[in-house]
Each structure stands twice: as C-alpha cells, then as structure tokens.
Symmetry: C2
Subunit: 419 residues, 2 copies
C-alpha cells in the first residue's frame, strides 16, 4: 500500500513539474465557506462586502479602542471564539479589502516571482492547526499598574492578549517552493495591506517549518480584525510575526529591521550598556490561573482552580500549582487535548479554609523549560524587580513570569505580582 504521506517538498517536486499556479485542479464551490454557511455573527467580509462590523467593544473587552483582550476568566476549554480573540491593531482603521482583488506577491530572491489570488491559495494543499497567538506585550509589568488599588486588573487585561483558535490555510513552504528560493534567500520581509503597511522579518528556516498563510479561523473565514482575507500564522512565535492582511513577501539575504521591530519592539539591556536585544522569537513556557483570579470573590470550601498553560516550543508536559506562595507545588490535571503550541487547560481541586493564601501556577514544557518567577525573569533581562515598579519602568515584553494571586481573608482576590 502506497502512502500519500509525502512531505511537502516531495509533493512540490512532483507537482511543480506538471502544475503551475493558476492551472491547478479547481473545484468550484470549494471556497470556504460560502456566505449562506457563515457563522452567524460578525464574520469578516465575504465577496459581497457584508459583515464588516468590528466586534463589539464592551466595557470589559477593551481598555482602549485598538486593543481587545480575551476574557480568559470566563471561558472553559481552549478554543477562543473568533469574536473574542485578542486584537492589537497597528493602523487606525481596519482595511477594506475586496478578497477578489487581493493578491499575495512573493518576490525578491526567488527563481520565479509569483502572484497568488485568493482562489489560487485555496486550490493549494491546506493545513489546519490549533495554535495560540500571543501579543509580545502581553503580561507586561506595566499593565500590573493597577486601576483598582486593591485588586489590580482582572486576568483579562493582564494576560488576555493570548488566544487559541483552529487556523486553516496553505503552508508557506508550499508557496515558497513554488516560487523557488535562491540559495542566498535566507530571510523574509512580510508586509500587510493595512494603511500602516505593518511589516515584520522572518527567517526562512521557520517559514519552511510550520508557518502557513491562514484564511480560516474556527471554521469561518478570518474576521476583519484578524486579518481578512489572509494573515500569516507563525506557530509559537510572538504576535507581530503573524502579519495580518498579508500582501507582500520579499525574500532577502539578511534580517531587516522593519520600523516596528526597531522602534516599537526592541528592548534595551542596561546591563549590556544599553544595547538592545534585537529579536524575540519563540514564546517560552507560560501559564496563568484564570479562575479564581483578581477581582473575584471566594467562599470557603471546595473550589476548582483552573487555568491555561502554553509554550512556543511545543507541548505542555506538566503544570504545577502552589497554594502556599510557592513553598509546595502539586501537579494539576491537564484537561482535553494537549496540542503543541496551543493553550492547554489545567484543573486543580482545592479546599479554601478561609485563611490568607497565595495561589500560582507554573508550566513545564516538553523541552524541560520551566516557567520562571518575575524575579528570575527580571534578572534574565538585566533588571531588578524594583526597576519594574518605578514610574519610569523599562519596556518589558515577552513576559512569561509566574502570576501569583493573593486570596485575602475577606474572600477578595488581588494581583500579587508586585505585592
């Protein structure tokens, strides 16, 4: 029995001899999904330019008008409903893109520059993967600056720029191999079709590994705030790599410092004479207890501690929970499927006795990486904890510190990160 388990490169070698893009086999009606079958709600535009309403911005969904936070405290499981996926918008308006007119161009150091229509992309081999996407600024020490002097912010606004969806699209390796990478083509510059032309750099090694150009999210077309009609998915790497409204891919021979990378996304290292650590790539082991958490109230007796754990390196292998401020740690139950580079739900049974307590979780991923405390992370970045509590606190992104929640004797719960 012959296997069809060919890797993508072998597939492309076979196909490229006989199939040119645009002449590939075509299945009418294979567009995903047709208007009549779209999830009712506010999905992204269809060919008819309907449903362009952005998600509602409830008081608890947004701190400002261009960032939406996932209400981690409110849902069970790992799938974030598409309209509740976090959103960080870099241009002041959502672009109005007609998918019939949208083109993805691959040029630069390639044998054959190519232009793909949406129809072209949907005819090619597809993948679907459950992955988290997380803003590199999520969980920043800056956000712990509380608007509620007692409780701190709810978990949604500290850690809610991380969400998990099932994304579907075409592997970037398929597209790059169709174009044919030249030997010195080692980096990509990705550019979106939004007004600000949001751009980012990506090494070819990662591009060929597991990245894909996504046109579907949780069984629907992408929503407009998620990059309709296409965005890049760079599994496990920080948010800005996942360029929305993807329009141009230029293959180059060295890393470029795009505007956002150099101006917005660099972090200086005082211990290295102010040099910046240039790129931040893969998210490390991370977790957070989503319930109980700051702003909620406890009653004595049984309580299920629940939360999410994830790692950009692969699968979560273990989550440990401490209810005594980090002295003792016990293993939590991992619930549901444990998917690489995706949120993993954990649960822990506890009995609250009414006394003051400090609860926290830590993630250990399949590479053995252990989620650090904020103090350990500060040291790693060349700061002290005190630095991050100063009014002129330094920029801090790519934070994966353990989040402690303090349970007070009156049943209130507060953010104890800097308590």
């Amino acid at each position: 029995m012959d296997s069809n388990q060919s890797d993508r490169r072998r597939f492309l070698k076979q196909a490229s001899a006989t199939v040119a893009v645009g002449a590939a086999g075509f299945v009418a009606g294979a567009q995903l999904p047709a208007k009549a079958q779209q999830a009712e709600s506010q999905p992204a535009g269809t060919d008819e330019h309907v449903h362009r309403v952005p998600p509602r911005r409830g008081a608890r969904y947004s701190l400002d008008h261009m960032t939406h936070y996932t209400p981690l405290q409110d849902y069970a499981g790992i799938i974030t409903p598409a309209p509740l996926h976090f959103m960080q918008q870099h241009s002041s308006e959502y672009p109005e893109i007609d998918p019939k007119e949208h083109r993805l161009t691959i040029h630069g150091l390639v044998d054959r520059p190519l232009v793909f229509s949406m129809d072209d992309l949907k005819r090619l081999p597809s993948v679907s993967r459950i992955h988290f996407v997380e803003c590199h600024g999520n969980s920043s020490p800056a956000i712990h600056a509380s608007r509620d002097p007692k409780m701190g912010l709810p978990v949604q606004f500290i850690h809610g720029m991380a969400s998990t969806s099932e994304w579907a699209g075409v592997p970037l390796s398929v597209l790059l191999n169709e174009a044919g990478l030249k030997k010195n083509g080692t980096w990509l510059v990705l550019e979106g079709a939004d007004a600000g032309k949001f751009s980012h750099t990506l090494p070819v090694g990662k591009a060929l590994d597991d990245c894909f150009v996504a046109y579907g999210q949780n069984g629907e077309p992408l929503r407009v705030e998620q990059g309709f009609p296409i965005r890049l998915l760079v599994p496990g790497w920080e948010g800005p790599f996942n360029v929305k409204y993807l329009r141009h891919i230029k293959v180059v021979d060295e890393p470029y410092n795009t505007w956002n990378e150099s101006m917005n996304h660099s972090v200086s290292r005082p211990d290295l004479g102010g040099k910046a650590r240039w790129y931040h790539f893969q998210w490390a082991a991370k977790s957070v207890i989503t319930r109980p958490s700051a702003g909620m109230e406890m009653r004595k007796g049984y309580v299920q501690i629940t939360g999410l754990a994830w790692s950009g390196a692969g699968k979560v292998s273990k989550v440990e929970v401490s209810t005594d401020g980090g002295k003792n740690w016990r293993e939590a139950r991992l619930d549901g499927p444990v998917v690489p580079k995706a949120h993993t739900r954990f649960n822990y049974d506890w009995e609250w006795n009414g006394q003051e307590a400090m609860i926290q979780s830590r993630c250990i991923d399949e590479t053995g990486d252990v989620q650090p405390s904020m103090a350990e992370l500060a040291e790693h970045w060349g700061y002290t904890m005190a630095d991050w509590q100063k009014p002129e606190k330094p920029r801090a992104i790519h934070m994966n510190a353990i989040q402690p929640w303090k349970i007070n004797r009156d049943g209130s719960i507060s953010d104890a990160m800097f308590a």
Copy 2:
C-alpha cells in the same frame, strides 16, 4: 511532589465528607461567560433572555425547518462553528428556559436525591473535550434519493448531521457520585425540558466513563438549539443520547424503552423474523470526502482531496483513499490534532487526468475497525442493496458506509452510492 491527578471517585470521597452541593467554594463572576464577553452573534440566552434568535436557515442550511445540516463541504479543520452545528429538533419550538430557574434533578435509585442549579453545576469540577456529535439518521440510504437526478444531494445533506465542537461541562460521574448510586442502579432515564420531554436511556457504565453535562460549546454558552442551558454529552455514541435541555435523570434498574427509542429509533431485522435490534450505541469507523463531492466541478490537474474521519471507539488511526473505485487504496495524511471521538481532517494529493474516476475514503480506527462498503453494511443489517433502493425502503440508521463520488468526464461530480 504530590500529584493532584486524583481520579474522580477519589476526589468525591475526599470532597463528600466536607462539601455538600450548594455549600461548595464559590467564585463570584465565574459564570461562563458573562454577557459582555459572549461571542457576538446569536449565542443562546443569557440570564437576561437576550439573543434568543435561532440560527439563520439559509437555503443551503436546511432541507426542512427542524433539521440543520453542517456545510461539511465549506470548512477546513475540525471545529464546526457553533451556529453551523447540525441540529435535529424533536419538539416543534425551542423551549424558553430561564437559566436562573432551571434545575437538574437526580433521583430514583440513589442514596440522596439532588437538585442542581446552574450555579451549582458551574462550581463543580469541569472538563472540556473536543467531540463529534452525530445524528443516528445521518448518511441514511433514504437521503441518497436525489433531488438532483444527475448529481445527487451535496455532501452537506447526506452526511452533514455530524459536527465537532469543544464542549465544556461537569462530569456526569461527579453528579452521580454526589447522589450516590444504589447497587441496583444500573441504567439512567434522561429527560429534557422541551415541550416533547425528549427522553433517552443510558447505561450507568457509560455514564460514569466519559459523559458530561455540557454548558459550554466552543468557548460560548450553549446555543438555544443545542440545548441551552445544558445538554448531555455522550462521547462517540449516537445523537439521541445527547439529551438537550437536560432536566431529570432517573436512576433505574433496567433499560427503559422511551417513546423515541421504541417508536422512532428501532430498526427491524427481516432476517430475524422482524425482530428489532433494540439499541444502537457507539458510532463505528466512518469517513467521507467533503471536497471534491457531489455538485462541484473539477478541472484537470492538481486537486487536494480532503475530508473528515471519525469513530465512536476512539482515535482514527488511518484513512485510505481510492481514486479508482476501490481497486487500490493509499494512505491519506491526517492533519491537525487527532482527538478521540472527534472529527479528524485528512488530505490527499491527487492529479485528475480528465477521465472518469471514482473517489472514496475509508477510515480505520484504533480498535482496527474498518469502515465497510454499503453492500457490506446491507448484509450486516440483513438487507440487500436492492432493498434500499425500493420505494418502500426499510428504515436504516447508524450508517457508516464508504461514500463513493463519481467524477464524470465533463468535470461534474455525482453521488455514486447507488449508481
């Protein structure tokens, strides 16, 4: 390091000594999810009785007004968006249930009859699982009776009463153990709060294994057509077990024949003198090519064959595809996570040469079960293929036959099940 990986029974032994239902630790704000965080769209009612609009019934979504079919041909991946989940309604209207007033009662052969409010249920340990739900009448030979004499029905209306979601809720074992099963309590009778009081029987062995009372679907509350505020999830078993609007669970000492089971869901066996095979439980290995499929059009060249495979027995271990009417079979690629008792996406690269062809898939699950042809299935049920093509064709449910699609030389595709 102590593990919190206690099984549920041990958890309950610990907890039952100190925690009575209703006195369990309580986390205010832990309701899932609050109104402001609900997915925009038409989720099921909240406490305020809003959002009670049933899903739109597009021309391609429904054949009649009380059944909705998932548009399998239109989506990638495995997650069915909640509003596109298939729906088979047994009462003529959706019940209007106030979740604050809704109660789940467990009575009969138990030590302590219990009544659970929604708050009670949400305080207890939770699980989240990705599972398919499939109507026992899905893929019935009757439906192949074509409304389009050339093509047959689209895959949506033949096989679209099967969908996959991430469901979240409380294990039925937790509830039953709180109530305390008496020794002779071996079966359950489940009853819904819809007008018709839809009821079904379930053996206790399965109930304690992996069933749960679900209040969430894909990160949202259940939608009204999916059983808001709660439904039972009976993973891998046929649809009617998954009782919606769940209200009463009576523990009994023998299987009951509820009205639907005896009148609607029994299948006579002509080869056994007309006796009925009483219960149908677990779905067997099954798969279907969703694209290309009946009603679509082909063009020569590369085409990705894609589809879904699943089994009520556990994981899909292999999917094979034939493009020559079943003479040769080759292994397809399984895409994304392979989750037990859930849809699994498969892909297969093919080159259509413009000649007549017959494409089909077959699933092999982890128990070794191989999806049968319709002829094999007919024999199993004591019929001949011819019986199922007669106008007075017998009732046929629990169908998992291989679905052949015929590709004609003009590029059209037709249902070849009875061709």
